[in-house]
């Protein structure tokens, strides 16, 4: 039996696709094992742990984000048998983002509805590149959020072609899920809308827009959106007090977009991927940046139904990139959706070189370029794993230093001296030295003092270096531990405790 080339290609596509997803998952798990928790991850983890242990969840419009991450994590953890205690394992904790990232990989592979080399190359790049590997295993909302946003993008494009009630309901529910995951949904809704309009020659014409928005589907979309919103923010119709907060949150997030201590220059996002050397380590993704730029130009200049899905994805990511770049508040993980588009744009150029060229030498060179680019990205991912929590890792932002693990270990060693008694611990400082509260969550004799001058001399006193009372010198022995770049913590240990500990060394 001989296979025709088309069937052979399909079989190879499926096999390669499975390999890509499998490899992507294993890289994310490896990176997760190597990387200590960021303070933001610890804050989210604490919410999940409380929900799993007590069943209680309270939306906080001042800081945290919507409820989907916690509830979906709880459902997933219950399904696979992960308890609240098991969350100390980093990969257990990060299981939902890893799963969302794997589903995103699948969506890239099958999103075009056909076997398209553009999307296979894009999925391979997304599976092995350092940025999506890190943020595909990061316990914040982003991986889940980006997955929902791409489903919404495809659903939105579907609705544009067939503006009917079922498509409208799907869009409404997905929009509600997107908002209930993260308030930055408003930026993505705008980017998705603009991308869909940009796909069509007459897309920006008012008459065309009106034609696509008949009254009944619009009402169905709005109704399903409101229903979804109420469902998510009322914790499944059980706590309606959070609905007002969910609307008020937008006032806080509008203020926060001005920077709130995280303001960065216009080209910050580009600088993350731009080649650079940091204390002897070479970083950067020059090949993929070049191909992505060429891909964007090529897709914008050409037309044709075969490349419509690639164009849609690239437009969405490019618009989101532009919007995020002009907002002063910037954190690297906000680039995850745009990174999908980056890989699709690069994949489109590479596919064009391989498939659309009749010269076999060009094809061979193009295949070599694909392999080189994949190898280069993989090497960067290995580097990002070696420097998993290092300040020189350009993909990280205010990450907890690996040295922080020593403080946690020290506390555990001191507690092990007398397992029957919990240590009394005082933590000082306005930010509570996160992620420390996550590691101390099972200790019932921990207190937090924003004013370090009034902090009591308990068994352990921990706070920002230089801020704790020097009177501790009389009764305690000091140590220092790194928290994150330019932030050191003092840890004062009661002298008797320290001496008992040293007896064990």
């Amino acid at each position: 039996m001989t296979l025709n080339p088309k069937t052979l290609f399909r079989i190879l596509y499926i096999v390669a696709g499975i390999g890509v997803v499998w490899f992507g998952i294993s890289l994310r798990i490896q990176n997760s094992e190597a990387r200590i928790l960021h303070s933001d991850e610890a804050v989210q983890a604490y919410q999940l742990w409380e929900l799993m242990e007590t069943g209680h969840y309270q939306y906080d419009p001042e800081d945290k984000h919507g409820p989907t991450l916690y509830y979906l994590s709880k459902i997933l953890n219950n399904a696979v048998g992960i308890s609240g205690d098991d969350l100390s394992d980093r990969t257990n904790l990060r299981l939902l983002p890893i799963l969302a990232s794997a589903l995103l990989l699948l969506l890239i592979l099958v999103g075009n509805g056909k076997f398209d080399l553009t999307f296979l190359i894009a999925a391979a790049l997304f599976a092995i590149s350092p940025f999506p590997v890190i943020y595909g295993a990061y316990y914040v909302q982003e991986a889940l959020f980006v997955l929902i946003s791409f489903v919404l993008l495809y659903a939105g494009a579907w609705y544009w072609r067939f503006p009917e009630v079922p498509q409208a309901i799907l869009c409404g529910l997905l929009t509600a899920a997107l908002f209930a995951t993260k308030e930055t949904a408003i930026i993505h809704i705008a980017a998705i809308g603009l991308a869909i309009l940009a796909m069509n020659e007459s897309g920006f014409r008012l008459s065309e827009i009106k034609k696509r928005l008949p009254r009944t589907p619009v009402a169905a979309c709005f109704g399903s959106f409101v229903l979804g919103w109420i469902f998510f923010y009322s914790s499944g119709f059980t706590n309606f007090s959070q609905l007002t907060d969910s609307v008020l949150a937008f006032v806080n997030y509008a203020e926060r977009s001005q920077g709130a201590g995280h303001d960065k220059p216009l080209f910050y996002y580009l600088s993350i991927f731009w080649p650079r050397t940091a204390e002897g380590i070479q970083w950067g993704e020059a090949p993929i940046l070049v191909f992505a730029f060429l891909g964007l130009v090529l897709l914008a200049m050409t037309s044709g139904k075969r490349s419509d899905r690639a164009r849609l994805v690239v437009y969405y990511g490019a618009i989101a990139f532009a919007l995020y770049s002009i907002i002063p508040y910037k954190t690297p993980w906000l680039m995850l959706a745009s990174y999908v588009s980056l890989t699709v744009a690069a994949g489109y150029v590479l596919k064009t070189l391989i498939v659309d060229q009749s010269n076999s030498w060009i094809r061979i060179v193009a295949i070599g370029v694909v392999l080189f680019t994949l190898g280069d990205q993989y090497q960067s991912t290995q580097l990002a794993e070696r420097y998993a929590a290092d300040t020189r890792n350009p993909y990280l932002y205010q990450h907890t230093t690996g040295q922080f693990a020593k403080l946690v270990e020290r506390i555990e060693d001191l507690e092990a001296l007398d397992p029957d008694t919990q240590l009394s611990i005082a933590v000082g400082g306005e930010d509570n030295a996160w992620p420390l509260p996550w590691h101390l969550r099972n200790n019932e004799t921990v207190g937090y003092w924003a004013d370090t001058n009034s902090i009591p001399a308990l068994d352990l006193v921990i706070g920002p270096a230089g801020s704790l009372p020097l009177s501790l010198k009389e009764t305690h022995t000091p140590e220092y531990h790194g928290l994150r770049e330019n932030v050191l913590l003092e840890c004062w240990i009661r002298k008797e405790l320290w001496e008992a500990f040293m007896q064990t060394r």
């Binding site: 050397t277 020189r392 690996g402 230089g466 020097l470 790194g482 050191l488």
Partner: protein, 220 residues
Amino acid sequence: MTKKIISIIAVAAFAVSAFAAHHGGKKALEIEFPPPFLIGTPVQVNLPHLEDPGTPRPTIMVPEGVSNLASGKEVTSSDDFPIIGGLDYVTDGDKESEEGYFVELAPGTQWIQIDLENSATIYGVAIWHFHTQKRAYHDVIVQISDDDSFESGVTTVFNNDHDNSSGFGQGTDKAYLETNEGKLVDAKESKGRYVRIYGAGNTSNEMNHFVEVEVFGKAN
């Protein structure tokens, strides 16, 4: 009056000769420093167990003929394949801390070892870790021995491992912040052919870095 002047000169000459006799004709060890170069925002550090950043270097008196015996000598390490830089950087005479001047060893407790080629009397060891950022390196331990495996005849001349986490005993020396002046350790005329320096990461990251090590001594 003349008698008075002669008496003063005699007393002064006696004092100088007595001082010289006491130090065996020694002079204070002098070290050359690279220019200071700090990048990033300096961190305010006020830690009681850290050596005061203004603490003067120890004055080490050395006899004539003492030189940097480590210059150009072979360096070995617990990390045979450093990912950044080469072990030869440690004794190449370049003390600048920018890229291309330091070797980075793996995380955890690691060491470098310099073979002086002959047993020597060592007066001082000067160490430069990465110093373009304000940071302190953990568990700095300096040992001297004639045994290249450091299993016997080991003299520890510096140890700031306050909790014995590296397993060489609790150190009583203070932690210190890196500057362009490095750290000068008084080796107290210890004798040995090999100098080994340990470290266990730093306050900024888990890696171990060495820019330069100078070993001041005289071959036996």
